[in-house]
């Protein structure tokens, strides 16, 4: 290409402790190009964009803008280099007007030249066909309107490269059509756009796609040369069914969990829509789906943290109604939440204390009115040995544990109390291969003991390795339940993207 690339990333590597979030990533974005960054959650898209916006400093690698190497130590550096970013979660002041949100922190001198700022905002809106009323309070705008404020805010800084982090996650289809119309006009003006997304329909509108998987760049392709399936395969990986694919284990018994017509609304949105399924004794039921499609709400209902609006469920024949987590746990249910440090552990407590959380009043851990410290310590030692937790001892503080070891602490606690049913939401998220293998073995052991297990994972490998049946979640609905031996990664991948043709078939 004759011209310099607008953005050139060479060998960018970013580590967080032992986790390599970006591993030797290289890509170019040309002037006037819509370049899509595609990847599953946790593939490293957000880390890469944060490095490009100066929020994180890469450990290795070089970033060039218009052929000039740049060191992006802060957003101020990125803005100077002409890079602007629209964050996935809006960064707006609701009480400010549109104009104030756009202009704050720009300009120089004491004066806030409202008239000049307004003229410039209107000029930008005019140039790219964006409708905005500069004097309205941002808090009164619709989500779509707020998205426009964010985009104009970035254009106002004079950015020539826009990073859009999942901009359509909150937009209606109509709003997102408008967004792509505006993107066309930006491109015509020579502005480059790096679009982060995992929605195939949007990705297919880009000029080129770079696919990330587990922090590595799988490849950059011209969108015109590939099909959706090609991209899905690049994103999820062409996976041969693992050799460790389990047999269906011991005898599958009667239904332990039966869920009937569970529905829930949150902020006017139906996050669970008429969910029904059953899980038998000795069975692992898999839930596939991109996160944010209702899995978290399902688990919170099942473990008693939230009440469904409609529908019911029963555990081992006992109807669970208006319950608390303690009532559910008393039925022999264990729960491994998706965010282990937020919901699974108390970071400032030790391993031995975290291991008895929720059961600390039980006679087992008490001596009279006091905690049985010796019993706790022994229990901690047993868990550290049994689950190979790498820690200095049972009194180690959980906050300092790695993700894998923290997860093992939660598994040790929840597996211990799950006699009948085990609820696992993303138990392998962010774990390395060794820890994932460990979680798999433990889940199979628990299944062979006759426990019913609900396992949600974004890693199809997990589901294919462990589950007999896999249900796919999309926008709060359970689209389809598939028999593990009669489906493929491809079919599930398409369902996860909500492709209705497959649903209808």
């Amino acid at each position: 290409m004759a011209s310099q690339p607008r953005l050139s990333v060479r060998g960018l590597t970013k580590r967080f402790g032992a986790l390599v979030a970006n591993d030797d990533v290289s890509l170019n974005v040309e002037p006037g190009e819509l370049h899509c960054l595609l990847g599953e959650n946790g593939a490293g898209k957000s880390t890469l964009s944060s490095c490009l916006y100066g929020l994180y400093q890469p450990d290795h690698g070089e970033i060039q803008v218009d052929g000039q190497p740049v060191h992006l130590r802060s957003p101020a550096d990125a803005l100077r280099a002409g890079i602007g970013m629209v964050h996935q979660h809006f960064v707006l002041v609701p009480g400010f007007t549109v104009l104030e949100n756009i202009a704050v922190g720009t300009g120089s001198g004491w004066r806030f030249d409202r008239a000049a700022a307004k003229a410039r905002v209107l000029a930008i809106c005019q140039a790219y066909g964006i409708e905005l009323e500069p004097d309205r309070a941002v808090g009164d705008l619709s989500v779509g309107g707020q998205q426009w404020v964010e985009i104009v805010k970035v254009l106002y800084t004079g950015a020539r490269l826009l990073i859009l982090d999942e901009p359509t996650a909150v937009l209606t289809p109509d709003e997102s059509r408008k967004l792509f119309a505006v993107i066309e006009r930006l491109k015509a003006d020579g502005i480059s756009i790096l679009l982060i997304s995992h929605k195939m329909a949007e990705v297919m509108q880009s000029d080129r796609v770079s696919v990330l998987r587990r922090g590595r760049l799988v490849g950059t392709v011209r969108t015109a040369d590939v099909t959706r399936d090609d991209l899905t395969t690049m994103m999820i990986g062409q996976r041969i069914a693992p050799a460790s694919r389990s047999s269906d284990g011991g005898g599958v018994g009667g239904a332990v969990l039966s869920v009937r017509g569970l529905s829930k609304e949150r902020q006017g949105r139906r996050v669970l829509d008429d969910i029904s399924f059953e899980v038998a004794q000795g069975e692992i039921f898999g839930i596939a789906g991109v996160s944010g499609n209702g899995q978290d709400d399902l688990f919170e209902c099942l473990c008693g943290l939230a009440a469904p609006d409609e529908g019911s469920f029963s555990v081992a024949g006992a109807e669970v109604r208006a319950s608390s987590p303690a009532d559910v746990a008393a039925l022999g249910v264990g729960y491994v939440p998706s965010d282990r440090f937020r919901d699974g552990l108390v970071g400032d407590l030790s391993i031995e204390e975290n291991l008895v959380l929720g059961q600390h009043w039980s006679a087992r851990w008490r001596r009279g009115p006091f905690l049985d410290r010796n019993g706790l310590e022994k229990n901690g030692r047993d868990a550290i040995a049994g689950y190979s937790i790498a820690a200095t001892g049972p009194d180690a503080i959980c906050r300092r544990l790695s993700g894998g070891n923290a997860q093992k602490v939660i598994l040790a606690r929840e597996f211990g109390k799950a006699d009948r049913l085990l609820l696992c939401n993303q138990p392998t998220r962010g774990l390395d291969v060794g820890a994932i293998g460990f979680v798999h073995r433990e889940l199979l052991r628990k299944r062979d003991e006759g426990c019913a297990i609900v396992l949600a994972s974004e890693e199809l490998d997990d589901l294919f390795a462990l589950c007999s049946r896999i249900g796919v979640f999309f926008r709060g609905r359970l689209l389809k339940v598939l028999d593990r031996d009669r489906t493929s990664h491809d079919e599930i991948g398409r369902l996860m993207a909500g492709q209705e043709s497959v649903v209808a078939a």
Partner: protein
């Protein structure tokens, strides 16, 4: 007795006292307003005022110049605020606890230094104090003249700071930045503006104003320093900011309500109405508690007030 109380001259003197009493409260509250708008709770206001009052007195006594005293008081407040800012913005120590520590420091240090500077006689030398500066023509107006235009220079300054702070917050580029820091600091960070720098500036300004408020007490009117002479005015200023819904003119109104109650009780004591004076002394504080209960909604507070900002 009530007849005499209602006489015009007495009303004028209550009103004039209200304005005088309002001065240190208004200075401290306007400073606190700016700090809180930037997202930082400065609970150390009392300590900063007290140290301002003491250092102001000490400097005026040593130098013989009242204005040197005022300048030193402002700088003292600013310096204490800078230490406070380092603790809560850079080190992200809990803001309220740090503020309490600053208050203890102010109370202890001023008393200790007082004893060290003036042996242990307990009596501090009296220094000259600021005279009232009547404004020509305006001070001759009936009723409002003696109330508003026969005051000390610091009082004029305090009242002029109300529109000045309003202008800063709502009409300047920096004001927009300060309010943004209090409502959503990340929105500043992504624009490449240092949230910490904004908050440091706002907190130091708040300390400077608190120091000046302290100076008014010692150098401005009492002409001496006594331990704990701020007597809760720093706390009252914090309540005034809440009661004033974080807006400059409403802060002025709240200040006037509290100072009027104080002026009134002084007057009532002075003319000997038979109410236990302790009850009268209580009035501003009782009203403060009622104001807090009425204003318990945080709807108008800066959204991120009191929460240290970090990128993660």
């Amino acid at each position: 007795m009530f007849e005499s109380f209602l006489q015009a001259t007495i009303l004028v003197s209550v009103a004039a006292a209200t304005i005088r009493i309002a001065t240190p409260l208004l200075l401290a509250a306007l400073g606190e307003l700016v700090a809180e708008r930037s997202g930082v709770y400065n609970m150390g206001l009392e300590g900063m005022m007290l140290m301002g009052a003491f250092i102001g007195y000490l400097s005026a006594h040593q130098s013989g110049s009242l204005w040197v005293g005022v300048a030193a008081a402002g700088l003292t407040g600013a310096a204490m605020a800078a230490v406070f800012a380092f603790m809560v913005i850079t080190l992200k120590v809990e803001q309220i606890v740090t503020g309490l520590a600053v208050n203890l420091l102010g109370a202890g240090l001023s008393t200790y230094w007082l004893r060290a500077a003036f042996s242990d006689s307990g009596q501090t030398p009296v220094i000259p104090f600021f005279e009232n500066v009547p404004i020509p023509v305006l001070s001759q107006l009936p009723v409002v003249g003696p109330i508003l235009f026969d005051q000390k220079l610091l009082t004029y300054f305090a009242f002029l700071m109300v529109p000045a702070v309003w202008f800063l917050l709502f009409r300047t580029r920096y004001g927009l930045i300060i309010r943004c820091a209090g409502d959503n600091p990340k929105a500043l960070d992504v624009k490449g503006v240092s949230v910490a720098a904004v908050q440091y500036a706002a907190v130091v300004f708040g300390g400077l104003m608190a120091g000046l408020g302290g100076a008014f007490l010692s150098v401005g009117s009492a002409a001496r320093f006594v331990p704990d002479m701020t007597n809760g005015r720093g706390w009252l200023a914090i309540i005034i900011v809440i009661a004033g819904l974080w807006r400059p003119y409403a802060v002025l109104a709240a200040t006037l309500v509290f100072s009027f109650l104080d002026a009134l009780q002084l007057q009532i004591q002075g003319i000997g109405i038979a109410i236990p004076y302790q009850l009268l002394l209580m009035m501003p504080y009782v009203v403060a508690i009622i104001a807090l209960m009425v204003r318990r909604s945080r709807a108008n507070a800066p959204a991120m007030l009191g929460m240290p900002y970090s990128r993660e």
